[in-house]
Point group: C2
Chain length 444, copies 2
C-alpha cells in the first residue's frame, strides 16, 4: 500500500490540555495503517509518498457512528410521524420480516456509501444477517464494530449462532472489524438470555452492544413490572461486568447514572439525538453522564428514525439540544462537543488508544473537510464551522487504515450506481407490510 502525505491542511488536534483545537499549515504523514507524523508544512516530502494537496481543508479523525442499524436505510421514509409503539409494531418489525441476506448486503453497502461520503469511517452496527454486513464493510474498506441483534423469543440457540458470527469475524477485514454480542434490549430479552449473552461474551473475549432505557416509558414500565430500572437489570444479569455499549439512555434516572459510574472504565453510552427528536423520546442526560465520568459517543441510529446516517448532524444536534434542555447556552461548548465526536466516540467502542485522535501512532482513519464553502466563510473559527456549519457534503477525502477510500468525493472502493440500482430493485418488495408477519412485538 502506498504511504501518503496530506499537505498544508488545517488539523484538528488536542492541545496540551487535550482540548480539540485547529492547527494551520500542517503536513500529515501516513505510513502503513498508522499516522507517522504531524508537522508544520515546509519540509520537502519524502519520495514515494502519494501527496494529497489539502489547502483550505480541515483534517480530523474519521467520524465514528457508535450506534446504528445501517441496512435499515432500505426502509428510509417508511415510518414517519408515528409514536414509538406504532413505529415498532406497525412499521419496523413488520417491514423487517421482508429482509433477506441479499437485501441486507445491498442495504449495508448503501449505508456505507452514505457514511463514507459524510466522513464516517467507523460504525457500531447492531442488526441482522451480519455476515452480509461484514462482507460489505470488508469491501468498502471502512472500520466496524458488529453485533448480530437477537431477541429471546428466538430461543437460546440464536446466541450460539451469533457467537459463531462473533468468532468468524473477530479481527476480520484485516483487523478493521471487531465484533460483539448484541442482545436487543432488556424488554425483549429475559434475564436468562442476557446472562447467557454475557457468558458468550466472556468466553469470546468481546463486549456487548445493547439498547436500554431508550426512553422514560421503558424505565417506568420496568419499574412497574419488576421493581427495577433497565440499567439495574443490566447490572443484575452481569451485562455491565463486560465492555458494554448502551443505546440510548433517554430514560436514565439519576440512580442509573450513579450505577453506570461504577462501570465507567468499560461502559459507554451511544447518543443519537435526531431519533430522539423525531420520536419524541426525550434526551440523554449527557451532562450528568460526563460529570460522572461515563463516556458518551455520537450516533445516528437507523435511517428509519433519523433519516440519515449523518454524524456531523448528530454532533450539531447534540450540542444544541444540551443547551436547550439546560436552558443555558454555555452548556456543551464547542471543544466539548468535538471531544465527544472524536475521543469520546472512540472511547465508547473501547478504541480510544488507537482511534479518535490525530497523533503519531494512531490508526490513519481521517477525513478532509472543505472549509471554502460560503457557509464556512469567513473562517473566523474553524471549530465553530465544524460543529455549526459543516455539512456531510463538505467531506472531500476519506482515509481508513491508511488507505484512501474516497478522494475529492470520488468513491474508490464501491460502485455507487450499482448499489443504488440493486437497492432500487428490492424497494417495492421491502415496503410491503403485513402486521401479523412482524419479527417481534414491542411491549416494554
Amino acid at each position: 500500500m502506498t504511504d501518503t502525505l496530506i499537505r498544508n491542511c488545517y488539523a484538528l488536534v488536542p492541545d496540551e490540555r487535550g482540548v480539540p483545537t485547529v492547527a494551520s499549515n500542517q503536513d500529515i504523514v501516513i505510513r502503513g495503517n498508522r499516522i507517522a507524523a504531524i508537522r508544520p508544512t515546509g519540509q520537502a516530502p519524502e519520495p514515494g509518498l502519494d501527496v494529497i494537496e489539502a489547502r483550505h481543508q480541515l483534517a480530523m479523525p474519521g467520524l465514528i457512528n457508535t450506534h446504528s442499524h445501517v441496512p435499515m436505510v432500505l426502509f428510509r421514509g417508511l415510518a414517519e410521524d408515528v409514536p414509538i409503539e406504532r413505529w415498532f409494531n406497525e412499521f419496523i418489525w413488520p417491514l423487517e420480516s421482508n429482509l433477506t441476506e441479499e437485501a441486507v448486503y445491498w442495504g449495508m453497502l448503501l449505508g456505507l456509501i452514505e457514511m463514507i461520503e459524510g466522513g464516517v469511517t467507523t460504525v457500531a452496527d447492531h442488526y441482522f444477517f451480519m455476515d452480509q454486513a461484514a462482507r460489505a464493510v470488508d469491501q468498502a474498506g471502512t472500520r466496524a464494530h458488529l453485533g448480530w441483534a437477537v431477541f429471546a423469543s428466538r430461543g437460546m440457540g440464536v446466541l450460539d449462532e451469533t457467537a459463531a458470527f462473533v468468532e468468524r469475524w473477530k479481527g476480520g477485514a484485516g483487523g478493521r472489524i471487531t465484533t460483539c454480542m448484541a442482545p436487543h434490549a432488556p424488554y425483549t430479552c429475559d434475564d436468562g438470555f442476557l446472562r447467557a449473552s454475557v457468558e458468550h461474551a466472556r468466553r469470546l473475549g468481546v463486549g456487548i452492544h445493547i439498547h436500554a432505557a431508550e426512553e422514560m416509558g421503558q424505565t417506568t414500565a420496568s419499574l412497574e413490572k419488576r421493581g427495577m430500572t433497565p440499567i439495574k437489570v443490566l447490572e443484575d444479569t452481569g451485562i455491565l461486568s463486560v465492555p458494554t455499549l448502551i443505546a440510548h439512555g433517554c430514560g436514565l434516572l439519576p440512580e442509573d447514572v450513579e450505577r453506570l459510574a461504577r462501570y465507567r472504565d468499560h461502559v459507554g453510552i451511544a447518543h443519537a439525538p435526531k431519533t430522539y427528536l423525531k420520536l419524541a423520546m426525550g434526551m440523554t442526560p449527557i451532562r450528568a453522564l460526563r460529570k460522572a465520568g461515563i463516556e458518551v459517543g455520537l450516533a445516528t441510529d437507523g435511517a428509519v428514525s433519523n433519516n440519515t446516517l449523518d454524524v456531523l448532524e448528530s454532533l450539531r444536534l447534540m450540542a444544541m439540544m444540551q443547551k436547550h434542555e439546560a436552558s443555558d447556552p454555555e452548556v456543551m461548548p464547542i471543544p466539548e462537543a468535538l471531544d465527544i465526536a472524536t475521543r469520546g466516540s472512540a472511547a465508547v467502542l473501547g478504541l480510544s488508544d488507537r482511534l479518535g485522535k490525530l497523533a503519531p501512532g494512531y490508526l490513519a482513519d481521517l477525513i478532509l473537510v472543505d472549509t471554502r464553502g460560503a457557509h464556512w466563510q469567513p473562517p473566523h473559527s474553524l471549530t465553530a464551522g465544524l460543529v455549526y456549519s459543516a455539512r456531510a457534503s463538505d467531506v472531500q477525502t476519506v482515509l481508513v487504515d491508511g488507505r484512501v477510500i474516497m478522494r475529492d468525493r470520488r468513491l474508490l472502493t464501491l460502485d455507487k450506481e450499482r448499489v443504488l440500482a440493486e437497492v432500487s430493485s428490492h424497494m417495492e418488495r421491502l415496503a410491503r407490510r403485513v402486521p401479523e408477519a412482524r419479527i417481534q412485538v414491542y411491549k416494554p
Copy 2:
C-alpha cells in the same frame, strides 16, 4: 429573457385539499417571470424554450427566509457558547460598530451566495446600510423584503432616513425588492418611536418588520417594567394595525397568541429554531399560533447565532423541535412542515398570492433538488426526504422571477471567488472588539 421548460421532474404541489404532495414526471413551463403550466411529461416542448432536464430532481417553490440579518455572515463564528446578554453586549453590538457600507455590501453578497446555493430565493432582511443590501440583491437576481434596522437611541431623524430608503427601493430590482420599516424591538425603541414608525409605514403603504418577545426573559422584563407584554406594546403603539412580521416569539404567552389572532390577516411570525437552540431561548409556540390561525414562516436569523443561512435545516429543526417540545411524535407531520416552508413563509411576507406555490400564474421562483444522493435512497417518500434528508448541497438549480440564477450548482449572477476574497480582506478588521464602541446596549 428566455422562457424555460423544466422537463420530467418530481414537483411538490398542493393536492385538492392544499396538502403538499409530490407528483412524478412533471413538466413545468415558465414564461416571463411566471409559471405558465405544470403538466405531465410527454408533450413535445414548444420551440424556443430553454430545456432543463430534471430527471430525479424535485421541483419546489424557492425557499423563503422570513427573518435574517444577512451581512452578519461577516461575523460568523465570533460569538459562540455565550448567553444572550453577553452575545449582544460583548460581541454583536461591539462588532457591528466596525461595519461600513462596503463591508455590508460584500457580506450581503456572501450571504446571498450561501442562500442561493441552499435554494433560498427570497429573504426578509433586517439590517444596516440597506442600500448596499438592495444593490447586492439587485445583482444576485434574488427576491428580498428589506428593512433598515433602527434603535430609538439614534433619535427620530433616523426614521426619516430609513423611510427614504423604503421609498427609494420599494418595487426595486424590477419588482423583486419590497421594503418595510424596521424598528429593532420594543426593548430598544420607545413607544413614541414605534408610533412614528407606524406613521411612516402607513404613509408609505408598507409594513413593519420587528423583533418582539424573542425569549421569555424579555416578556418577563416588560411585564415588570411596564405591566404589559411586548406584544401588548406592539398593539398599543399601533404596530399590529399595519402588516407586521414579528421575530421570534419564543416569549409569547397564551394571552399574546390570543391578541395576535385578532390581527392574523396581516401579522405573522418568523421562526428561526437554530438560533433559539444555540442561545437557549426556548421555542416559538407554533402549534398554538397555527391553531389560532396565525401564519408562521421559516427563518435562519443571522449567521452569528445560526451559524448558517440554511432554510432546509430550519425546516428540519422546526418539525423535530415541535415534536420534542410536545413529547408527541405525531405533532408537525411532514405535510404541515412543508406547508410552513412554502405557503406559510410566503404568507408571513404577505406574498402568498404570488409566492410559495408551484401553480400557473405564480412567480417563477423555484428550485430543483437532487434526490439521487445516497442519503435520499431508496426514494420511498420524497416528502420525508425533503424534510429529513435534504441538504443545502442537494439544490442543483435555482430560478427567481423566471431567470435561472444557479444551474447545476454553477452561480450565474455572482462571482463567488471575488466575493470570498473581498470578505476575507475585511475579516481581521471586522473581528476587533471594543466593548465601549458598541452600537447599542442590551437591557430589555
